[in-house]
Symmetry: C2
Subunit: 300 residues, 2 copies
């Protein structure tokens, strides 16, 4: 069987199944970050994201500055999704020999500007030659134990919320998005957040990550999903990836108004967590519901 | 200017020059690992190494099992070079769609076998499709503050030692080497080690990493360099990479006999640290010396 016919998520589950029980790590594969023991009050967080020329970006359409910025931004978004603070990054690159040295400088300029904005320190990495440009950024962060937000904490009766608006990220947001680190910190510091994830693969796929790991179902109110002005397609808002907004669940007494006010940006209630037996459905807030299709970015 | 005409080490220095002064990290770019604050008694260590098909390995000549093993082993060797204990790994891969799923399984089998041998936990990563097979492994470890071995601690009068023998790693050792984690732990636990590095780029280049960062010179005794039985070339022992032995300096009252006995493997004294003004020289132990050529693996 070839990789092209393998489902990435099934493959990851298979790898997970081959691992011995974790002895030291508090949480391994299967969330936005790994969670490791650190101090008495805090966990360490670690995550990595790889970007590959020709798969994730086309250098005839985007600058190396933006690629460098994004290479770090996606991992900062993973740290945000756990409620954490990013601290360090390690950057490995594969660089074509024919690439202009100035382009590689631009890559680091984009990356270092964002690193500076978030007080993240570049502490190491690896440099290699390669036929195509490749980068892999590992980010290490930390989170207070009481503030850790995981995918698997959603509870029946929770409201489902999303920050900002979804869809159309291909028009620019996929490179220019601001990782929701500050918003996530406010959320975990001010509200009881039961579960959280960043929307990288698309709302529907990322919602399934929450419901699968929390062993719950969900109902999404089709008419409440905030659609970006960069698309007029509801379907795209539901399944296009790279919005890098926060999708989270919290007790139902928390209102979207309270969240929006505290975060200083729009937060929409888009549904509720139900029992696993009820499945994952979508439909109007008051009306019939159909199964939510598991649609989103395929990595393999 | 194209990347092919850029010296990798100069490029890394240029990136370093663009970074703000480190605020949190104890040590950033420029050693085998970054060193981060952790507990009162220990530092955290972090390192990453990328392997790229067609640059670092040829899948018509080596199995994915060995590539997977090596992908982790090189980073374990970096942790060893700091005197540390590896704890966790994060593995990002880019996989051709035409690759057999069984090959990717083999990659993880090789990696996980070594991880198990060293009690390292696989805690996360990223999976992508790619035209060629790529992997980047980030390893996180720890070291007691008093045991940390850096590149920049060599002192005039130190003896220079190397474990094992050098050269000919292309005949197999480049894949089958055992990262010297246990040996390094014994060294830092039993002796006063002033500086240490693992030999990945070749003895001469890696020695220059020590002398440059320690601001010292060195004399290598040509006739004392342990040449592997896999080569009859002294030149290769001096400049071929991927031996993954430990190169370290320690006070001159420490003998190679004491070291060999304690480590249970051959350790050779191959020279001594001298003042920076004397340069980096090579020659017979008792005889004339010439400048040691900075020769080794070029990454770009």
């Amino acid at each position: 069987m070839k990789i092209r016919s393998v489902d990435e998520f099934e493959f990851i589950e298979r790898i997970k199944g081959r691992l011995p029980k974790l002895k030291n790590a508090a949480l391994g594969i299967g969330d936005d970050c790994a969670v490791l023991p650190y101090t008495q009050d805090k966990y360490l967080l670690a995550t990595a994201d790889m970007l590959i020329e020709g798969v994730h970006f086309d250098l005839s359409r985007v600058s190396m500055y933006k690629v460098g910025r994004k290479a770090l931004a996606v991992s900062l978004s993973d740290i945000a999704a756990m409620g954490g603070v990013p601290k360090y990054c390690i950057v490995s690159v594969g660089v074509p020999q024919a690439m202009a040295a100035a382009s590689l400088d631009d890559f680091y300029s984009g990356l270092l500007k964002l690193a500076s904005d978030f007080s993240v320190e570049l502490i190491g990495g690896d440099t290699n030659r390669s036929e195509i440009f490749i980068c892999d950024v590992c980010v290490i962060g930390e989170v207070e134990k009481g503030f850790l937000a995981r995918r698997d904490g959603a509870k029946t009766g929770d409201s489902i919320f999303v920050t900002g608006s979804l869809g159309g990220s291909i028009k620019g947001k996929q490179y220019d998005f601001i990782p929701r680190v500050r918003e996530a910190r406010t959320l975990v510091g001010s509200f009881k957040i039961h579960s959280m994830i960043d929307i990288s693969d698309g709302l529907s796929l990322d919602l399934y990550h929450i419901t699968d790991s929390s062993k719950v179902g969900a109902i999404i109110y089709d008419d409440c999903v905030p659609v970006s002005q960069n698309t007029d397609s509801k379907k795209e808002a539901l399944s296009a990836g790279e919005d890098f907004e926060l999708l989270f669940t919290a007790p139902s007494d928390i209102t979207e108004e309270a969240l929006s006010k505290k975060l200083g940006m729009p937060v929409k209630k888009i549904g509720e967590i139900v029992s696993k037996a009820e499945g994952v459905k979508i439909g109007k807030e008051k009306g019939r519901k159909a199964e939510l299709k598991k649609r989103g970015f395929k990595h393999f």
